[in-house]
Each structure stands twice: as structure tokens, then as C-alpha cells.
Amino acid sequence: MVPEMGYLDEQFNQLEELQDESSPNFVEEVVALFLKDSPRLLSNIEQTIGKYPQDFYRLDSLVHQLKGSGSSIGAVRMKNECSVFKAHCNDRNLEGCRRSLQKMKREHATLKQKLESYFQLLRQVGPREHAVNSRK
């Protein structure tokens, strides 16, 4: 169950730092926004890969978006896979893009599951005390 490489980087810590009394569910809300938009982007990417003639410009633009929102919540593995995808776009390597997309979808599914478990656990443990940084 425990992965070798972390799924989230310090950007996620920053989100938790930003959570306060005025927005006590900030982290969950931001993650919800990401999980709302990212499936649509992944689906658009898939559709665009299937198109002929190939539109690498659009593919790059879509992955760029996904990379941007992923990195702002600290989804480091997704961010890295987006970089790989972009490199394939640059090389006009459609097969590489296809493989990369499959990886991105798997990473996304795993990340979603882990985040949802995390928030569920927080709810069980204590609604008010979670994610408070002791160092101010």
C-alpha cells in the first residue's frame, strides 16, 4: 500500500497551511475542483489523440492545463507524467503520447483514491483538529 515515491509534494502542504477558520474545508474544496476538471481534460486528451490529422498543438495545450492545475495541488507524479507527455508531443510521437496518457489515467485514479481515503480518515478522526501546523 505504501508507495515508493510520494504522490504529493510540498504544494499540498501549502494548501494545508492555507486552511484556517475562515475556510475550514479549503484543502478538500480545492482538491474537489481539481477532481472535477481533470477527468474532463483527460477525456479531451483521449479524444484528441484519436483524431486525424494529429493535432499535437492542441494536445500540448490540454496537457499543459492539466500539468498546471495538478502542480498547484502538489500532484507530483501527475505533473511529471504530463512533462513526459509534452516531450512526446514535441517529438510528434503519437504512440508515446498514447502510452503516457494511460499512465496519467492510472496515476489520476490512484491519486483520487488516496485523497478520498485521506479526507474520509480526517472526518473520522476529528473535524476540527485536522491539518493544523504547529509551527506558525
Binding site: G6, L8, N13, L18, S23, G68
Partner: protein
């Protein structure tokens, strides 16, 4: 009474540490036992839940967060996730923030005229209207108040981007993803210079 600490590492691993009254410390990081441990924890008084970085370095700034005392900022970013995060970062820095999701909305906010924005934080990777076009449009917009300062958000801060920013009348540039420290520093620098 016991103290329970639940540590969430940045890679989503969970450690539960229980400190008994006599000072003994138990820690559990076994995934199978975790659910049972959490149920047990509910019987104790939960004192503290702290996110801990997996890295050894201290990721939390020890220097104080600057406060911009109600600086009126217009945030322009087409991505919902990024806009939510940046909005909160600005609020944390003491700014008064109004967020829009497109270049068109940005220009409408200016035309609205009621409140004058002192600074525009503009994401360059927008789709309906190019970020540089928006910056130029803001510059051209005639109003009684001083033209606002513009700080751009971009995926890259290479020379090409910096060049284009300068030519579009943009005063500052931040590379994404944005951190509280970097945003505070760049806003401070831009305000100092103008």
C-alpha cells in the same frame, strides 16, 4: 490522559503516535492496523494532528508573512483549481481580492469602475484571450486612477517570456506553481519599484 499524534507524510503515509501519561510512546505505521488504531484513538483526547513533510528540510518559512494591508487585487486565471489556490494565497497576504476567470471578465471589471484595482495578477496561459493581449488592453484603458501594476503568472519564466512581459507593460513575473513566499516577495518587489 494521553496525547495522540497523527502524522501525515507528504506522500500520504500515515503514522499514529500515542504518548501515554507515563511518557511511553507507541507508534503505528502498519496499514492493516491503522483502522483499528484510529478507532482506538477516538477514545482518547485528540490533541494534535500535524502534516509533516517527507523531506528532511524544513519546508515551512520561519520569517513572517508580509501583509499588504487591503491591497486591492484583481486575479485573472481561467483554471478553477489554480484560481482558488492563488485567491487564498493573496488573502493570506492581506490583500482584498476579486477573482475572474477570463480576459473578457477582467476588462469588464475595469469598465465597471466602482472599485479601482491597484494590482492585477494575470495568468498568461488563458484560452479565450491571450494573457499578453489582456495586459496591453489594461494599459490602454483610460481611467482617472493610476494604471494598476500587473504581475504575470506563467509556467516558465525564461527570457522569451520575460521579454514579452516587458513589451506588454507587465511589471512582475511569477513562475507556477506559486508559493506564498514567492508571491509575497514579488508583490513586495513590484510595489517597492513603483
Amino acid at each position: 490522559m494521553c496525547n495522540l499524534y497523527i502524522l501525515l507524510l507528504a506522500d500520504l503515509r500515515l503514522y499514529v503516535v500515542l504518548q501515554m501519561m507515563n511518557g511511553n510512546i507507541w507508534s503505528v505505521s502498519d496499514p492493516e492496523g491503522l483502522r483499528e488504531t484510529v478507532m482506538l484513538a477516538l477514545q482518547f483526547q485528540v490533541q494534535h494532528v500535524t502534516p509533516v513533510s517527507g523531506a528532511s528540510s524544513d519546508l515551512y518559512r520561519l520569517s513572517p508573512i508580509p501583509n499588504f494591508n487591503g491591497l486591492h487585487v484583481l486575479l485573472v486565471d481561467g483554471d478553477d483549481t489554480n484560481r482558488a489556490v492563488t485567491h487564498k494565497l493573496l488573502e493570506k497576504l492581506g490583500c482584498r481580492v476579486f477573482s475572474v476567470s477570463s480576459g473578457i471578465q477582467c476588462m469588464t471589471s475595469f469598465a465597471g469602475g466602482e472599485s479601482s484595482f491597484q494590482l492585477v495578477l494575470l495568468d498568461l496561459t488563458m484560452h479565450t484571450m491571450d494573457g499578453f493581449e489582456v495586459a496591453l488592453a489594461i494599459r490602454k484603458f483610460r481611467s482617472n486612477s493610476w494604471p494598476p501594476l500587473i504581475v504575470a503568472l506563467a509556467a516558465s519564466s525564461d527570457d522569451n517570456v520575460r521579454d514579452r512581459c516587458q513589451r506588454s507593460g507587465i511589471n512582475g513575473l511569477l513562475q507556477k506553481p506559486v508559493t506564498l513566499a514567492a508571491l509575497g516577495d514579488e508583490l513586495y518587489r513590484v510595489l517597492q519599484h513603483n
